[in-house]
Amino acid sequence: MDPQAAKMIGAGLAAIGMGIAALGVGNVFAKFLEGALRNPGAADSQQGRLFIGFAGAELLGLLAFVTMIILVFVA
């Protein structure tokens, strides 16, 4: 396969990772809301943990983006 074509295909495959990270971020907020609506009194104190979980899930999607950018512009 032409290396340039392989690079572009790899970059496209890396984009799948961002979609899956979207599922992860959605899951973080969905589960938080599920718990928060059952016990609204405890929800506010857990906001920090919500965003730590969000940051972790988001980072993995951003790493897919970095892989894509490196394949297209650097490699």
Partner: protein
Amino acid sequence: MAAAEGGKIDPMHQFLIEPVLGRHWIVGGYDLSFTNSALWMVVTLASLWLFMLGGMKRELVPGRWQAAVEGFTGFVSSMLTSNIGPEGKRFIPYVFSLFMFILFANILGLLPFGIVPGVHPFTVTSHLTVTGVLAIISFAIVLIVGFGRHGFHFFSLFVPHGTPPLMIPLIFVVELMSFLVRPFSLGLRLFVAMTAGHILLKVLAAFVVNGINLGGGYIALVTLPSFLLMIGITLLELLVAAIQAYVFALLTSVYLNDAVNLH
């Protein structure tokens, strides 16, 4: 939009660091010229300084401006006390400066200064060199506080309570790796979130301009949907700008908690 010249989309041009007024100043082989990145850092600092100056009148009944500034300081101070405890008060100056600098840099990079001829907005936080240095400063403070308070006992951070003795070598290595990767993930997250958002906005802007240039049915088919999408994405990016500043400050305070209290 310079990105759409000749119908070719070049979303990476906005991240180019170049000297202001186009003059290089080279000292001993190093380019020390005053770049657009440095200029926008100065703009960020100046607007932050103005914002704080307007709200530090210490009136008994705060006006709107003072209430805004006190809202930010109260937000950071409650974040630190809830994560670190009463000792978190010592870190308020650092975490507050970090949060406000990142927030102002993110938002100033999004504002549409480009409609003024000759002005090119630049997002300082869209470069790994800037966010990486911020992350390294945070990590260095964690190391200094941790080793200063606990000495070599700080290494007990890597062996959680109740670890079976057999597992200690493995857990130590895993925890050490997760500790060492923190500055990279901290800097990378902010840099990539900003870069990705600005690329997306520039691509959509190029769609709008190219659709208008082609005329006819392209305006209804391409320009209008892209423009509506762009408004939505811009609002989303404003949210991301605030969330990323918050996440950076929050993770810094969580890491500081490890250094202050171990666990």
